[in-house]
Symmetry: C2
Subunit: 106 residues, 2 copies
């Protein structure tokens, strides 16, 4: 969707004449991806704390081992919805979730 959005905005030509705006878009996209990756790391950490295998977590979520692996790998095919749901399923509180969001990117 990122590429498509950029192209769409480009073709629209509406208020996005300069390079700065495009850079800002890239930044947002980057921030989004970083967020997902940190959620992924948090997920792996949480799972291990619970001494669960990927198979175990998959069962807990009603998903499959391969999808859990992709979640933890930050695969582009994994939505933030899924990551957040998984963390909640592992008992992560909203406050703890917020900490992941606030965490300074490396």
């Amino acid at each position: 969707m990122n590429e498509a959005r950029k192209r769409r905005l480009q073709s629209l030509g509406w208020r996005f004449g300069n390079a700065k705006e495009f850079l800002r878009l890239s930044d947002e996209e980057a921030a989004f991806v970083e967020l997902k990756i940190e959620l992924a790391q948090a997920l792996r950490g949480r799972r291990k704390r619970h001494r669960l295998s990927q198979v175990g977590l998959a069962r807990l979520l009603g998903s499959s081992q391969s999808r859990v692996a992709k979640m933890e790998a930050g695969d582009p095919s994994v939505s933030m919805d899924l990551l957040v749901r998984a963390l909640l399923a592992l008992g992560v509180s909203r406050r703890e979730l917020a900490r992941v969001f606030a965490a300074k990117a490396a």
Copy 2:
């Protein structure tokens, strides 16, 4: 997915014998929905602060007015991905985003 997940877990019968576990699942689902609703509210607030109409925000996002309306209404057809992307597009920092996540539910 919530109903489907519950049914799936139910049919699996794996480690989910008692009512407590089902209640926990409902709680997670509820927390997730609350989160989305609060993101939706934050989005509306941010948009107004920027003095943007839904059409304006839609253009900024490369989306449509109707989708923005659904985002702000917390429509089930709107993903958390989209809400977070929209907030980032409005210049919301990770720290501010985290505040939404941490906010105590009403």
